[in-house]
Homo-oligomer: 404 residues x 2
């Protein structure tokens, strides 16, 4: 476990790792003409410090290190020889900056894609502005799209643990189980392996519990969320995923369950079945694996994200499966997405994406099919973009596994 | 399960129930001088329609019923004889309103406490405003604070199911378990009973997985989240709750796990132990029960929320337990909170709360203690405010239950 003393440091990343991340953020700030920024979201504070606290990280191009304004926990400490500032409200920040001889009153960028309107307005006013103007969200999103070696290590660990759990899945099935009952056993196995459970998604419209297990017609129920797959869910208050459908022979069960073991998530999907798997489902899974392989080979720095989507669609079309690609009654508009602290990071593999792949991107590729009368079939893997192509970090066996 | 046809209706509440809720919202709008509002958050769309969809609910004092602008799923239908509008982006709303002969260009209130800044600005501009001005968030928060009979029924069901699970908890313990391992078995039992898992919390700063199980010194670790209790958690990316501490004889294990079985959550906490429970812990639990009883008796329409907090604090002080009340190294600033679709609704039982209790408020009361060397002790119950006082809907046995 943690060392009691070190655990109180506000920067759990260490100086070098933090500087690597800050350099990426500051490059983005320079390119966007942003001089200073205040970061408040849990995800971005975690990115910048390796921990979640309640307060603000103040980044200025003129400062080597960030300033920390901490509301809670008040026990946090700076690195030796440095300071952090305890505040009760954002209005105290400007006075502290003035006391410390920092410039106050210029424009300060905020996370305008994430921060609630009323809060952004309040912080802007506290910093002497009439209203927020500059948006640091895209800068942070771009910085986070290219992972550092430390982040990749956390992602690899998540992939390894998620793989261990997925290899155990066939032992979790009992005859007569519904999709929800099966999912619950996978959730438990994941948690026992160290899964943190929480599923971080950018954007206030998105909600999911621990993952999505789909079987049969339920896979063709459109959901309001922008995930690759839908499902009615167990209740109209959370209309996504398993709905209580009993697992039937020959019909695939698609398992896409939370891989957050380290604060960094991997994404993996596999299909399982009882009896003899429907031939069409088996074919769809093989096509999905082939698309993953082709996209992995294309996953080199400089590749266009939109080209990867188009290639996946072309392969599905060649196989006569376009109608079922990424859904049937509803088609998701992407075949892959960046992943890390959140499940929907950059780059996005979508037709209108302008993203260009870079070494260190981490991308989940999920070419999935929904076939009427059969349900969902396909796989998903998480890859690190390298000069040699995508390196897969979710390595459970790809072929559908028989449960009974 | 659901009827396929009815399930496609955008208003799953039925006309009467929706009108009850709308009447509360419209009263609030009139009091706040708001003529029209656009609601977009999942929680408030669920409140207004009984389902979650991706889109907008347009409420106008001049219209008997809301208008629905739906992005997804596109399969949703209006009630017979009514219309809904499918849109791809908010910019289409104004044109549709104009086509339908509705007034466009006036001020439209938005959920400014919840909606991200950039999105609020975009919708305001789409509606012909320079910037958002009026905030519908407080109106909706106040409306939701008083539950309808239908909502109370969902809350009672959650309380009954959560009680069944809590009664099963002693059978889930095995010798040598850590707090996390114990929590995982409680999570599984909850899910098997129908718990939806998702834990909705207002405010972007708050995060929790399925609940909080605390034992020993870990209970005294301050957390950045504004929950009654803290804990280090398993990882600095989610610093709250169980941290892997092994359950030890005599030391209470405080269990506060998700009661969301219906889209409406109840909140219940109980203590468990192995061996013989520390006398101080037993005393703290008895004091907590006594405070709950006193507060329940005060829970009548017209009571001041702040008086309930003060009474709880006075009882803790009389018992010489003030130092440990609602935490030790860090003290939470409240002893109870409204609960429903989210875990942090109105009213709030806190010293500076201006809330006045009304019949139909649903309040979780959690007078808890953190004692150094022992850990967390106390109970929590969820009550409906009635003319006769608080009616408890979380009815698992109150006394600490031995596990071994």
């Amino acid at each position: 476990m943690k060392e009691a003393n070190d655990y109180l440091l506000i920067n759990l990343l260490g100086t070098d790792e933090q500087q690597l991340r800050l350099a990426r953020v500051k490059d983005g700030m320079r390119a966007a003409g942003i001089e200073t920024a205040i970061v408040r979201s849990n995800t971005n504070i975690y990115y910048l410090t390796g921990r979640v606290f309640r307060g603000y990280v103040y980044i200025s191009l003129g400062l080597d290190e960030p300033l920390y304004f901490v509301r809670q926990p008040s026990t946090l400490r700076a690195m030796p020889g440095k300071k952090i500032y305890h505040v009760r409200k954002p209005e105290e920040i400007a006075a502290i900056l003035a006391e410390e001889g920092m410039p106050v009153g210029g424009r300060v960028a905020l996370e305008l894609d994430a921060m609630p309107y009323a809060e952004a307005l309040r912080i802007a006013k506290a910093m002497g502005m009439d209203a927020p103007s500059e948006n640091i969200s895209p800068v942070l999103r771009n910085a986070r799209a290219v992972k550092t070696a430390c982040e990749l290590s956390k992602l690899r660990t998540s992939g390894e643990k998620q793989t261990l759990v997925y290899e155990r899945i066939p032992h979790l099935y009992q005859e007569g189980m519904s999709d929800i009952e099966f999912q619950i056993e996978i959730e438990r196995a994941s948690r026992l392996e160290g899964c943190l459970g929480i599923f971080r998604i950018g954007g206030s419209e998105m909600e999911l519990f621990m993952g999505n297990v789909l079987t049969g017609e339920n896979a063709d129920t459109p959901s309001p969320y922008d995930f690759a797959m839908g499902g009615a869910g167990a209740d109209p208050s959370l209309p996504v995923g398993a709905d209580g459908t009993v697992i039937k022979p020959g019909i695939p069960v698609m398992v896409d369950v939370n891989g957050n073991y380290t604060g960094y998530m991997t994404d993996m999907t596999r299909c399982f079945y009882t009896g003899s798997l429907s031939e069409r489902a088996g074919k769809a899974v093989r096509l999905s694996i082939a698309i993953c392989d082709e996209l992995a080979a294309m996953m080199k720095p400089g590749a266009k994200a939109s080209d990867l989507y188009e290639r996946a669609l072309a392969l599905a079309t060649e196989a006569g499966m376009e109608e079922f690609f990424m859904g049937h009654r509803y088609h998701a508009g992407f075949v892959g997405h960046g992943i890390g602290i959140e499940v929907n990071e950059l780059p996005v593999l979508a037709p209108r994406s302008k993203d260009i792949l870079e070494a260190g991107n981490v991308i989940a590729v999920e070419p999935k099919f929904v076939i009427p009368g059969i349900g969902a079939a396909g796989v998903e893997n998480t890859y690190i973009v390298t000069a040699d192509g995508g390196q897969c970090i979710t390595n459970a066996p790809l072929d559908p596994v028989r449960l009974d």
